[in-house]
Symmetry: C2
Subunit: 449 residues, 2 copies
């Protein structure tokens, strides 16, 4: 029997994950709008037998785009483009339950799953950036709890839409003239607090039944949501202990709501700086840090922590006493990660900015290929991870180094596949294809939410 295997996704951030990636000599900022650039990256990840490529998203322009590659192409179109030039690799799109209509989102994912032969995943987000509200006619970004309330009902609605065609409903029998057996296509008749959706979907059930449900928030609401709905979680942890706590907690929560914890994969982010020696890796990391622009990171710090600092304060301590830990902002999971760094490491402002520059709160590992592989193995074998979301500091080279030097070590240790065994993302992840749940019309509240 094959031992438990790592699940590895490639997180594709235009230019790379480090905020200064686009300034690094190995980067190609002029290609960030070029389909062939992403196709090359996805094909490379597929040739390494990665489980999936993952695209983040948000429906607003980041303020600090002046200093870094803070935009991206839209994920559905990008992944459909990648689907056409790959055969096996999973395709995970981030899409917001706060700023999409359920019927439109359900169609986009059903199509992506058909077009890719069953490789779609949905990273379910409620959108953290408050400036999105102004792009959708809202006076204010809905508060955290309200966004999660809508998210729960949103997932319920789109699940009903994806299940509205029975698998056998598309008959297409030229002789009898029966194209779709409409007795097997069901309205959803959802009447909830946030949505009223009649259905059915206008696309037959897709190869995976539904996209793989992925979730990325680790707040209290986020954990509860993930325990109930997610099949994979992307999460940010700086220490093994934090990763273990989270892993045990969400597995326990999912068991508590009657789910098989084995069907909820925990995939922390990791951004590897790799060198032939540890000193070389550190030099590489330093080189990136020297390319950072404090104006960029100070804006990020303001957004996440609410601290408005100036470049004059870079070499002083982080004014911990000015950080308001309660309220809406304190609900964000990334807030807590950064607060922990401050409490644990007591960095100067500049040191904190450098800590965050690599992956905005995700874990940065700096070392030799063996050291990176050791870190991955340690988390994997000690109850902190079922796999990882690999976040190369820069693209495409930062991934090439990982692929060439770390992946072979993981294979030699029996931790990662040599070949794909399945064809769908569910198969790569070891997740079953869900049975269609026949909807029961709801008339109040959001039943299963």
């Amino acid at each position: 029997m094959t031992p438990r295997q790592l699940r590895l996704n490639l997180f594709v951030y235009p230019g790379g994950h480090h905020e200064a990636a686009w300034r690094y000599r190995g980067s190609a900022p002029e290609r960030m709008l070029d389909a062939h650039y992403y196709q090359k990256i996805a094909r490379r990840a597929e040739s390494e037998k990665f489980d999936a490529v993952f695209l983040a998203d948000g429906p607003a322009l980041a303020d600090n785009v002046r200093y870094a590659s803070r935009f991206r192409l839209e994920p559905f179109t990008s992944l459909a483009s990648l689907a056409a030039v790959t055969e096996r690799i999973g395709l995970i799109a981030t899409a917001s339950t706060t700023y999409f209509e359920p019927y439109n989102l359900a169609r986009l994912f059903a199509s992506l799953d058909h077009l890719s032969g069953g490789r779609a995943g949905w990273n379910i987000v409620t959108t953290g950036a408050p400036q999105a509200a102004g792009n959708f006619g809202l006076d204010a970004h809905p508060v955290h709890a309200e966004r999660y309330d809508r998210a729960r009902e949103f997932v319920e609605v789109v699940t009903k839409l994806w299940d509205s065609w029975e698998d056998e409903a598309l008959v297409a029998d030229p002789v009898s003239g029966l194209f779709a057996d409409t007795d097997r296509v069901h309205p959803v008749e959802h009447h909830g607090r946030h949505f009223r959706v009649r259905g059915p979907l206008n696309i037959p059930r897709s190869p995976q039944g539904r996209p793989v449900y992925v979730q990325a928030g680790s707040s209290e609401d986020g954990r509860a949501f993930a325990a109930r709905h997610a099949e994979a979680i992307f999460t940010a942890h700086q220490t093994l202990a934090s990763g273990q706590e989270f892993y045990a907690d969400v597995k326990r929560r999912s068991a508590a709501v009657g789910r098989d914890p084995g069907r909820l994969l925990v995939l922390p982010g990791i951004s590897p700086f790799i060198g032939a020696t540890e000193a070389e890796a550190r030099a590489l990391h330093d080189e990136f840090n020297e390319l950072t622009q404090p104006e960029y990171s100070l804006q990020m710090l303001h957004r996440i922590l609410g601290l408005r600092l100036t470049t004059a304060q870079l070499d002083g301590p982080v004014p911990r006493e000015l950080i308001e830990t309660g309220g809406e902002r304190g609900n964000g999971s990334r807030f807590q990660v950064i607060l922990d760094i401050i409490d644990r490491e007591q960095p100067t402002v500049r040191q904190l900015l450098h800590r965050l520059a690599g992956a905005r709160g995700h874990r940065v590992v700096v070392g030799t290929p063996e050291q990176v592989a050791d870190q991955i193995q340690e988390w994997f074998e000690n109850g902190a991870a079922d796999g990882f979301n690999i976040m190369p500091p820069w693209l495409t080279g930062g991934f090439d180094v990982f692929a060439e030097q770390v992946v072979p070590l993981l294979r030699a240790r029996g931790l990662f596949r040599e070949e794909y065994e399945g064809r769908t993302l569910r198969e790569h992840y070891g997740l079953p294809r869900p049975e269609a749940v026949r909807p029961v019309p709801t008339t109040a509240g959001h039943g299963a939410g």
Copy 2:
């Protein structure tokens, strides 16, 4: 100087345009959810140097899917998939101004235009099918005039979003550290009757600036809208006289609002049944008619005309006196096309259903390759068309016949390109790349709408 050239789009309807296409022996109904099927069709159209492939759409399931292939994959994902396997051909997506959010639609098109290197077109529709309303929480489908009012403002908003990045705004200079010159990225600050959108878009301006604006309604509202906004019009006409009237009318209207009428292309639909002899073509057409199912067409007749007839009435006259010509339904352009057929031809119900089975009101031409080419040339040279939307009765074979037998005749007559000269859809259509219009914040109404 090259003489005036035909613009030819391939209308890709799953299985083909005839309602019974999926039952025809040359059809492949089992492939309607298969990306490779559409890729093969698009590549073939590109090898014939067609201007574009065109995908219809609507956010609801048609009632009569029991009898025919009345569903389709979602256009943005489908066309992004086709963009990846083609180089030149335009990609026109139908998308509804009634059921999309402007910011989401703007991002999808900007991405498609980037991913395709400037080949995106937007078929702007307000959605005719009333059952869509129930999928979006509305009590009723907005009436025609209301939908067009929203459409005008929608186009205004997304135009502002597409123009929000100046072409030079993306600097990406690693040395200075300036990624985006935010002085050249402008908020849109739109405050209208239907939408409030702050902007800017989170994607730099795309190769074409904006997708080509296409429009498909020919009602009074539709013509006024097209005259102001459209760069290409898809329209349904049964007779040369009707086509000429429409052509002259929309060109005149566009001139009246200060536009160059040469930058508004009129592209009627045409569905060709081709045989080596006229008799063979008629036999082919008869064969398709024999595969039709009256239950299907009677539902369509009810939807478009409001007539609820039974199969027992097939061989009697169309009860013209029961058709209510005023009101909301009478605003639909397809309504008028069908009413004209009834008045002109006095068909039995069955004859009318057969007339509509080929292309639901679009013109069906039955004849030899020469006869089909003659019809195209006649309309093109007599003020009824700048080109055509080719609607093969079945796919893929129905297009192969057109490509092999009619296209060479059009080329021999100097009417259609031998090779692409441009790379973008705008270049194929002979349309300029629009200058970005700097938005003036609106505080009431919808200024330019």
